[in-house]
Structures are given as C-alpha cells and as structure tokens.
C-alpha cells in the first residue's frame, strides 16, 4: 500500500508538489498522469526517500518514510526516471550488488535472480557491462533491479519512456502480470499507457492533484463520451436532419475526410436514433463507431483550465 498525506515539496519559491494526498491499495495500478514538469517525478522521489518532503509525509506498507525510512525502502521496488545504473558493472554483478545491499540470503537471492533474469529475458547480456547496452535493455536491467526482492510495492517512473513498441508491450505485460497482489504506482505522460495498464488515474499538474478516477470515469467526462461518428457518402444532406434530433447537442464534420461526429446531450444515448435516421435516409454508411470518450481531450481540459496559472 502507498499513501501520501499532504505531501509537499518546495524548491525555493517554487512549489513542485503541493499537498498531494493519494492512496493506492494492493491489486491497483495507479497511474500518475501529468504534463512534463507537473511534479510526478518529485512526488515519486519523495516516496522513494531520495528527496525529503518540505511538509507532509508518505507511508509505504504502513512505514512512514520520515520515521522508518529503511523499512519503507525495504518494502519498495523503485525504478528511477531513466533507469540509472552503474555502467562499469556487468548485469550479473549489478544484480548481485542489489541482492547484497538488500540483504537477501544466498538461496533466496539465487532463486529470485534466476526468476527475474528469465522474466526480463536478460540471459544473453548477463556478462555484458551495462554501459554497452541499448536503452531498452538498460530499462529492463532497471526493472530487474526494482523487482529483485519481490517487493509488495512497486514504483516505476516512466517505465516505457523511449522504448520501441515491442519493448513497450513487453514491459506492460510484465507490469500486468505483477499487478495482482502488489501495489503499483507508475508515472507517465502517455495516455495509451493509462488505457493499457492502469485501473486508476491521478492527474496532476503544477504539483496539484486535479482528478483521481478510473480511466472509464475520466472518459465519461469527455464530450466525446457516447458520441457517434460515421463516414458516409453524401453526409452533407443528413447534417441538418441530425441536428434536429432532440437528443443531439451538436454535429461536426471533419473538413478533411468528411467524417461526421454527432454529440449527444449529457446522459442521452443517441446510437439508435442516429442509426434509424441513417437507414431512413438510405445513406451508404461505410463505417460507424460509438465513441467511449477521449482521454487526451479530458487530459487537456483538466490540465489547462485557466485557474491553474502559467507553468505547465
């Protein structure tokens, strides 16, 4: 479990993290989502014990990071941003160092070592020095380091940043596989990642928590939620008729490909009505889609509302 209580961090006059209160339970993958410079990394660095909070605190598995920092660190696996590691060491030596500093017994260390190496497919580079590895492999070494002691709480700072699509997929399925009994906190600025991984999202900007919800709940806040979009020949004609439907709030036509999007009034399903209308008009619909809502639109709407001030 991770819990932050009014966690705050100031750099001089700048407040990087502002009274952040979050809670993530076992089985949850909580995504910290925010624009660059929102305070995601600073918040994680405080929870991990690298930075001291200016005020407030955080609990990792019930251990206060101010009062019992070593116990909190033992319960936590942490992948810092950019996955720093000792370049001159080989992968094997680096992981052995991590096992020693975490005080794993010889047999436990041995078993976990084999498991982690197999899971992250590092067998072939075990004897290579980390400085010679590609970005994707370095990230995997960083992940191996974070999960070596089988921690109940895992915190990953931009785990897929800079990876190619295949590597991203591999890292995501790894996180997915580990999520069942663990508490996982990841930070990201990729919306697709939230869809793929998280069962809860905390949106922060300028150090403040702006939303804490499931991805589906966030999608419902989008004006695209429940909207119907379709491509059809001669859709110009149907536009006025669609606008006349009582449940419809607006109709937009994409000037480039002529795709029509029909927005509902809040809470009014419109798919049946739109379909019926299209059928009676005898339009040739090549494709039609019921929109779930667009996270990018919600994200933009939340993180750029005017009361937030300039920094973003």
């Amino acid at each position: 479990m991770i819990q932050t209580e009014l966690l705050t961090r100031c750099y001089g006059l700048l407040t990087a993290v502002d009274a952040l209160s979050l809670r993530a339970e076992p089985g949850q993958v909580l995504g910290l989502l925010g624009p660059n410079g929102a305070g995601k990394s600073t918040a994680m660095r405080m929870i991990a014990g690298f930075l001291a909070p200016t005020s407030g605190t955080a609990l990792v598995c019930g251990h206060d990071i101010r009062k019992e920092p070593l116990k909190a660190k033992r319960a936590l696996g942490y992948l810092p941003e950019g996955a720093p590691s000792y370049d001159e060491m080989t992968v094997r030596e680096f992981l052995e160092f991590i096992a020693r500093i975490r005080g794993l017994g010889a047999d436990v260390a041995h078993r976990r070592f084999d498991e982690v190496i197999a899971r992250l497919q590092l067998e072939e580079v075990l004897e290579q020095s980390i400085g010679t590895l590609s970005k994707g492999l370095r990230r995997r070494v960083g992940l191996a380091q974070a999960i070596l002691h089988d921690p109940p709480v895992l915190m990953l700072d931009e785990p897929t940043d800079g990876l190619d699509p295949n590597q991203k997929q591999a890292v995501r399925s790894l996180i997915d596989a580990m999520a069942r009994e663990r508490t996982i906190l990841i930070s990201t600025h990729l919306l697709e990642e939230v869809h793929a991984l998280c069962n809860r999202v905390a949106i922060i900007a300028n150090g403040r928590l702006l939303a804490d919800a499931t991805p589906a709940e966030l999608e419902q806040r989008s004006r695209y939620h429940g909207a119907v979009s379709f491509s059809a020949a001669g859709s110009d004609v149907s536009r006025q008729m669609l606008e006349r439907l009582p449940q419809v709030a607006a109709v937009e036509v994409d000037p480039l490909d002529g795709r029509v999007t029909v927005f509902p009034r809040p809470g009014q399903p419109i798919l049946d009505e739109v379909l019926a209308l299209l059928r009676t008009q005898g339009l040739e619909v090549s494709e039609i889609q019921l929109e779930r809502g667009r996270l990018d639109e919600v994200f933009r709407q939340i993180t750029t509302s005017p009361n937030l001030g300039g920094r973003a």
Binding site: A48, L51, A52, T54, P80, F97, I101
Partner: protein, 244 residues
C-alpha cells in the same frame, strides 16, 4: 552492516575494474621512490631508516588522495546513480562508511606495495622495523584524514574536478598552517595561544612525529577526529541536499 559491506565491495570492485586504479598505483609507487631518493636524500643521510620516505607522504598524498576521493559522490550525482543508491535500504552513514573504507583500503594496498623500499633499507643496514611499522600505520591514518576531506568535498559537488581542487586546497592549507614560515608570518598579528592552536590544527605538525615513527596518542586522536569530523560533515551535506 549488510548495506555498508555491499557498498564497500562495489566501490573496491569499481576501483580495480577501471584502469584508473592501476595508473594511480604506478604513479604513487614511482613518485614515492623518486622523491625518497632524490628529494629526501635517502643515501646521503647514511642512516638506516625510512624517515625521508615518510617525510614525503604529506606532499605525495596532497596530489594523489584527492584523485582517489573525487569520484566518491560527485560521480554518483552526475550519472544519476545517487538516486538509486539513496533509495536502496542503506543509510547515508552506512553508504559513506562503505565508500570511505573502500578508498582507504585501496590506499592501504598502495602503501603495502612500497615494500621494496623496506627491503632495501633492511638490505643496506639494520633499521628499527618497529619504528618503520609505526610509520606505515601513521601514514595510512594520515591518508585517511585526507580521504575524509575528499569524501566531504566530493559530496558537495557534481564535478569531480571541483572536488579534486577543493580537496587539494583544504589539505594544502592544513599542511601550510603548521609550517614555521607561516606561523612566523602571523606572529605579530595573533596572540601566541591562537598561533599555537593553529599549529596544532595543522597536518604537518602531526605528520612529523609519524615520520619519525612515533605514534603519540595526541597525533592518533588528531587523525581519528579529522576522519570522523569530515565524514560527518559529508553525511550532513548529503542530507542537507535531500532537503534543499
């Protein structure tokens, strides 16, 4: 304890895996030999002891110890591994001790490798080997004090060059403070009590006794207190950087 030993092992390992360690050892051994014979007048003195050898150590360490100490923390902050290290279950004190002990052991190895000069002096005459052993131990302790200064300076900056220069400067000041020329210069300005106090703070005053092979409790205390003091300052500095 686990944490400290793990850090110690890793540091020692990283000393010996890079060529820097071997370059350092060679330079140290060559300089120690050359300075003893040419600057120290090892033959000309016609005495079977290693005083000229130990006399050179404060000056030799002035250049070489800062080089050993400079990557200690500066390298970690520069490459970002500091974030990794400080989020592992190891306290700042344990990490500092592990790093310091590794560097100190490394310098110990360098000192042990000067054994040919000990063989030489035993071949040429009958020196008091107890005095020589005391000299070695004292010299190692003095190297520890230099290293602790270097550890603190390395914690203060991300730049190894700055760490090197600051360490060398502080060590140089502490060496100079005890030189008679410097003390004489200030004789008019400061009261004799303060002058004496400054003299006692200096490395050279305590190093002289060590070179003669005299292990006085006060000199030992001076070096141990220096090590503890500078390492504590380094830990406080690192902790302050977390809060700042």
């Amino acid at each position: 304890m686990n944490g400290m030993l793990a850090v110690l092992r890793r540091e020692l390992y990283s000393y010996f895996i890079t060529p820097v360690a071997y370059v350092f050892l060679v330079i140290f051994l060559v300089l120690a030999g050359v300075l003893t014979f040419y600057a120290g007048g090892f033959y000309e003195r016609q005495l079977a002891d290693l005083q000229p050898f130990f006399d050179m150590h404060p000056w030799l360490y002035l250049v070489l110890v800062p080089a050993v100490a400079m990557p200690m923390w500066a390298e970690e902050s520069k490459s970002g591994t500091l974030e990794l290290l400080l989020t592992l279950p190891v306290s700042l004190t344990q990490a500092m001790l592990g790093k310091f002990l590794a560097a100190w052991l490394f310098i110990g190895v360098a000192l042990v490798l000067t054994f040919p000069i000990w063989i030489t002096v035993n071949y040429l005459g009958n020196p008091d080997n107890g005095v020589i052993l005391a000299g070695y131990l004292g010299s190692w302790l003095m190297a520890g004090a230099y290293l602790a200064i270097g550890a603190c300076m390395s914690a203060a900056t991300r730049s190894q060059i700055i760490a090197f220069v600051m360490t060398a400067a502080v060590c140089f000041l502490l060496l100079l403070a005890g030189q008679p020329q410097v003390l004489d210069f200030f004789q008019e300005a400061i009261s004799p009590r303060w002058l004496n106090a400054i003299g006692h703070l200096s490395i050279s005053r305590h190093a002289d006794a060590i070179a003669r092979g005299v292990l006085d409790l006060r000199d030992l205390l001076y070096f141990v207190a220096s090590i503890v003091g500078w390492l504590t300052a380094g830990v406080l500095l690192l902790d302050w950087k977390r809060i700042r």
